[in-house]
Amino acid sequence: MSETDAADGPPPFEDAFASDDVEQRIYGTILQTRKPTTASTIADIADCDPKTARKYLGWFDDLGIVTHHDSHPATYERNDAYFEWRRINQLAADHSVEELQERVRELTTRITEYKATYDAASPAAVDAVAAAEGSDERTIDDVYSDLADWATAREERDRYERARQQRTGGEREQASG
C-alpha cells in the first residue's frame, strides 16, 4: 500500500477506538469510573444495553478489576488496588533487584529536587497558582506539570520499592526452600 502517491495528501486517519468490542468499551469506561456508578450509567457511556453491562461488570468484579457495591441499585467503580497489584507484579517480573533499587534511588533524587524547588514536603502542600505567580520563570502550566510529576514520582517510587521487596522476599524463599 502506497500512502505517498496521492498529490492531495495521505489517507484519512483510522478511528483508534472503532474496533473496540463491547467488553473493551466497558473496560475503557471502567478505567474512568472513579466513584460508585450504576450499571446503566456505565452502559450509557459504553453504548451498550444495561444487561450486557451487568454481565461484563460481574466478570470484571470476579477478576478484581472493579469493586462491586451491593447497594440498590448495585454500583461499580474501578478497583485501583488491582491495577497497583498488576503493575508491581510486572515490575518485579521485568527487572532485577539491582535495577529496581537503582530506580528507587533515581526517583528519590527527583523527589528531593522537587521538595527543594518548591520548599514543601509534598505536592499537595503547594498552591500551584501562588507558586506560579511568585515565580518569574515558571508559568502555571509548568508548576502544575511539576506538581503532577512530583506526585507521579512518589507513586512510582512506592511501586518500585514494593516490587523490590516482592523480589527480595521471593529470592529469600527460594534460597531457604
Binding site: 500512502e3 495528501g9 483510522e14 474512568q32 499537595a124 502555571i140 506526585a151 507513586e155 512510582e156
Partner: protein
C-alpha cells in the same frame, strides 16, 4: 502521609492504566508509527509519533504527548518539528488563574495564557477530538 488526590484540588499523579489503554489503540492505527510510555523527558507520558508518510517533506517529525492524571485532568501536546522551528499546540484541563479549567494553547507555539474551551469527559472522546484536529491540520499542510 499521602494526602488524598482526585478531588481536583491537589495535583494528581499520572493514570498509567489509561495511558496503556490509549497506547494499545493508537499503536494499532496506520497514522501512528510508534506509541510508547516513557519518562525520559522527566514526565511520565504517552509519546505518540505520527507516520512520516502522512506529512509533507518539510515536517521532520510530528508527535503527540499525552498526560492523563488520576483526577481526569490532562495535557495533550501536539508538535511538528521543522528544520528551523516547531509548530505546536496543546489541549489542557487543569486549574488555571487565566482561563477555565478546560483550555487550549493555540499554535504556532502553544503560549501561555491559552483560550477558554470545553472538552469531553471521556478520555477516548478527548483523544478522538484531538486526532480529528490533527487530521485537519495535516489536510491543511498538504493544501499549502
Amino acid at each position: 502521609m499521602v494526602p488524598p488526590t482526585g478531588d481536583g484540588g491537589s495535583p494528581a499523579p499520572i493514570d498509567r492504566p489509561i495511558l496503556e489503554f490509549l497506547q494499545t489503540r493508537l499503536q494499532a492505527t496506520r497514522q501512528v508509527s510508534r506509541a510508547a510510555i516513557t519518562d525520559a523527558s522527566g514526565h511520565l507520558e504517552l509519546q505518540v509519533v505520527f507516520a512520516s508518510s502522512y506529512y509533507p517533506a518539510p515536517v521532520d517529525d510530528a508527535t503527540l504527548t499525552v498526560r492523563w492524571y488520576t483526577n481526569d485532568d490532562f495535557t495533550l501536546h501536539y508538535r511538528e518539528q521543522y528544520a528551523d522551528h516547531a509548530w505546536e499546540c496543546r489541549w489542557d484541563r487543569h486549574p488555571n488563574p487565566h482561563e477555565t479549567r478546560d483550555h487550549f494553547h493555540p499554535p504556532p507555539d502553544a503560549p501561555t495564557p491559552g483560550e477558554d474551551a470545553t472538552w469531553p469527559d471521556d478520555h477516548r472522546d478527548v483523544v478522538a477530538l484531538v486526532l480529528s484536529e490533527i487530521e485537519d491540520r495535516i489536510t491543511a499542510l498538504w493544501s499549502e
